[in-house]
Symmetry: C2
C-alpha cells in the first residue's frame, strides 16, 4: 500500500470513529472525583501547554480566580505569587481528557460535566460555562457563580442525571442543530431542550425547595448552559480517533490566548503551535479593538468534530454575536467540505437542505488549499479581571498545519 | 383625500395596530368560563360558517368527538344523529374571538389558552393542539388526550400561569423565530422555551406529585405545545385591526375543509369564500393522495399576522414536514413583502439577515399581482376517524380576494 493509500485508509478509520461516537451525559461531579490526575494545587487550563510567564492576561486572571475559589490564596496578590513561584501547577485540560471554555480553568472543586462515549467507553469532562471567571474575572461576583454551581446547581443536576441513568446527547444535539444551534457559541436550543429533559427528574429527586427552584430557573434561563455539554460531547467523540497510525486527521484545536495549538491523530501526544490570532467580530458596547485579547479556549473542540463554524450556515441567529451575513455563513459551511474527510450522517443543516456537517479536518487538505478551519468564538479582554467583551470568527494560523504536516512527513515515509 | 389615500392611511393604521400588539398568556381555562357566548350544546369549529350537511369528513369526525367528550352522546351514531338534526349548534370560532387548529372544535369543557393583548385589552382563545381528535379521530385514545388536558395538564398550567401573573408571549415568539420556528407548524423552539418558563412555577404551586410530573413531561415533550398559544397570540394581535374603515387589510384567513374564507378590516363581519384548495406536500407513510382532505383550520391566523408561511425562510427545519427546498422557503418569505403593508420591527429572520416578517395582507396587492399568501399546514384525512396524515404548503383561492375587492369597491367609492 502506498503512503497515500495508508493515510486515506487511516483517515477513513478516524472519521468512522468520530461519527460512530455516542456521547451520553452520565454524571456531574467534582473534578477531583472524576478527572484522571486531578491533584491538589493543580489548575488545568485551555490550549496547548503554557507557563505562568507566557500566560495571557485573561487566563492569568482565571487562574487567580481558581486559587481564591479553592482557598489556596486569600487575595489576588497572594494567588499571583503562588502561581508565579510554581507553587500551583498548570497543565492543559487536553492532557486529562478534559476541555474548558475560554481560559478553561479547572481545579479540584470545580464540578464538571462527565460525558461517556458509549460506542468506545471513554470519558470526557468539561467545566460549567459562565460569562465572567472563565474570561479572567476573579471578582467576588464572578467567584460567587462558581460557588453556586458547586453547592447548588451541580449537585442538583448530579442527582437528576444519576437517577435518569444518563442523558443521550447525540439525538439532542441533532435536534438542536435543526433549531439553529451550531453547538459552540449558539446553544440556546440545546440548552432549552436539556432543561426540559432534566426538569421532571429534578422535581422528583427530593431536593429542598430552594435548591429545586434555583436549579430550574438556572437551567431554564442559561443561554450557554449546553456549551459545557457540547464541548464534553465533542471531546468524548473525537478522543477515540487519537493515535490512528498514519492518520492526518486533526484531533484537537485549542488555544490558550498566547498560542493556537493543534494535535493530529497519527502524531499522538504532539502539539503544533503558532501565535494565537486575533478574532474578527463584534465587541460589546464600551469595548475597543485594543481591549481584546487573542484567541483563547478549548471550545474549538466543537469545530474539531464538525460543529461550531463548520455548521454556522445552519445557525444564522449567531450572526448578531459574530457579525457577518447569512450568505457568508452558508459559504463557511460549504467551504469546510474542502478540508475534511467526510460528511456526518447525523448532524444536519436544514438551511443547506439537510446536508450533513463536514467532519475530520485533514491537515493535508488544509495545507494544499490554504483554507483553514472556521471557528466562531467569544472574545476575552487582554488583561485579567474582566468578563466577556465580544464574539467573532477566528481562523487558525496556517503554520500549525504546515508544521504538523512537516513533522508527519518526517515520521511517515513511503 | 382620494379613496386611495384613505385606503393607504387606513391600512397603515391596521398595520400599526397589528405590530403594536402585546400578547400575554393570562389564563388556561374551560371554554365555558371564558369564551363569550360559549353555551351548552354548542360546538365552535374552524373556518367560515358551515352546516352539518356541507361539513367535511374530518370536521364531522371532530364534532362527533366533542359530543362524546361532553357526554351529549354515548356513541358516534347518536352524536351524528344529534348533529344532523340540529340538536347541537355549530358556529365559527372566529365569531367568538377564538381560533382552533384543523377541525378546530371547541365545546364547554374544552380548556383553552387565554391570551390578552395588553396593548388593546382584547382577549383571544385557542384550544390545545394534539394530533388526533382535531383531525377527526373520535376514538377512545383520541378523546383520552382531551380528558388528560381537561383534568391534569390544563388545571396544572392554569395554576402556574395565574401564579406567574401571566407570561408575555411577544419576546418568547421573537426568540423562537431566531431559533427556526415559524409559529405555525414548526413551534419546537417556542414550545421548549415555554416549558422552561413554566417549569419552576409548576414545581412551586403545590400540585400533587403525579400531576406535576405528568405536566412537566407533557410540556417538555410536546412538539406542538406552543401552536395553540401562537394561534391565540395571533388572533389577539389582529383583532384590534378589525373594522378600520376603508382598510383593505386581511383580518382572518380560515378554512373548514369545505371552504376557504377571508375577512377584511374595512368589511367587518363579512366572509369571502371559495372552495377549499388541496394542500401540496408530504404524506406520512401509508397514506395516498386520494386520502387527503382539503385545506382546513383556523391556524392561518398565524400567516394573517405575518408568521407561518410568511417567515418560513427562517424556518427551514419545517421542510421535512412540508417538502420543498431552503431556497424556495426564502423566496416565499421575500415574495410576501409584495402583498403586505409593512415589515415587523419585532419578528425577525436571521436567515434573511434579520429582515422583519411581512405583515398586513392587502387584498388590492394580492389581486393586482395574482400572488396569494403562502400558508404551511397539516393535512387531515378526507373521512372522519383519522389523525394527522401529512403536511405541506397551500395557497388560498384567488377568488376570495377578488370577491372581497369587488365588495370593497361597492362599499367604498371616491
Amino acid at each position: 500500500m502506498s503512503l497515500k493509500e495508508r493515510i486515506n485508509a487511516a483517515n477513513d478509520e478516524a472519521f468512522r470513529r468520530i461519527v460512530a461516537a455516542d456521547p451520553v451525559l452520565v454524571d456531574v461531579a467534582p473534578a477531583s472525583e472524576v478527572i484522571p490526575g486531578m491533584r491538589d494545587r493543580l489548575i488545568l487550563h485551555s490550549g496547548p501547554p503554557v507557563d505562568w510567564e507566557h500566560m495571557c492576561g485573561a487566563q492569568r486572571g482565571a487562574a487567580i480566580g481558581m486559587c481564591l475559589f479553592e482557598g489556596w490564596a486569600s487575595h489576588p496578590q497572594e494567588a499571583e505569587r503562588m502561581l508565579s513561584s510554581g507553587a500551583i501547577a498548570l497543565e492543559p485540560n487536553h492532557h486529562h481528557s478534559a476541555v474548558g471554555p475560554m481560559a478553561g480553568t479547572i481545579s479540584r472543586n470545580m464540578w464538571v460535566w462527565v460525558v461517556r462515549n458509549q460506542a468506545f467507553g471513554n470519558l470526557a469532562f468539561c467545566r460549567q460555562v459562565e460569562s465572567f471567571q472563565q474570561f479572567g474575572d476573579y471578582s467576588g461576583d464572578a467567584l460567587g457563580a462558581l460557588v453556586q454551581w458547586r453547592d447548588v446547581w451541580g449537585p442538583a443536576l448530579r442527582a437528576a442525571v444519576l437517577r435518569m441513568g444518563g442523558i443521550p446527547l447525540k439525538p439532542l444535539i441533532a435536534r438542536a442543530m435543526q433549531m439553529g444551534d451550531e453547538m459552540h457559541n449558539r446553544v440556546v436550543a440545546s440548552s432549552s431542550l436539556f432543561a426540559n429533559a432534566v426538569a421532571p427528574m429534578l422535581a422528583d429527586c427530593g431536593l429542598p425547595r430552594e435548591q429545586l427552584l434555583s436549579t430550574l430557573y438556572y437551567t431554564g434561563n442559561h443561554p450557554f448552559l449546553f456549551l459545557g455539554l457540547s464541548m464534553a460531547a465533542a471531546k468524548a467523540s473525537v478522543d477515540p480517533a487519537r493515535g490512528v497510525e498514519a492518520s492526518t486527521v486533526v484531533t484537537a484545536m485549542a488555544r490558550n490566548g498566547t498560542e493556537f495549538g493543534i494535535q493530529v491523530s497519527g502524531l499522538e501526544g504532539e502539539w503544533f503551535t503558532a501565535p494565537a490570532p486575533r478574532v474578527e467580530g463584534l465587541l460589546l458596547p464600551g469595548w475597543k479593538e485594543e481591549d481584546a485579547g487573542l484567541d483563547m479556549g478549548d471550545s474549538a473542540i466543537t469545530e474539531t468534530v464538525g460543529w461550531g463554524g463548520f455548521v454556522i450556515g445552519g445557525a444564522p441567529g449567531i450572526l448578531r454575536f459574530t457579525g457577518g451575513t447569512a450568505e457568508q455563513a452558508l459559504a463557511f459551511s460549504r467551504d469546510m467540505r474542502t478540508i475534511t474527510t467526510g460528511i456526518s450522517p447525523d448532524y444536519l443543516m436544514p438551511a443547506l437542505d439537510f446536508a450533513g456537517a463536514a467532519v475530520g479536518i485533514d491537515i493535508r487538505k488544509v495545507v494544499r488549499t490554504n483554507l483553514v478551519p472556521v471557528i466562531d468564538t467569544a472574545i476575552a479582554h487582554r488583561s485579567a479581571g474582566h468578563g466577556i467583551i465580544g464574539g467573532g470568527i477566528v481562523r487558525p494560523p496556517l503554520a500549525c498545519f504546515t508544521r504538523a504536516l512537516e513533522r508527519f512527513s518526517e515520521r511517515y515515509r513511503d
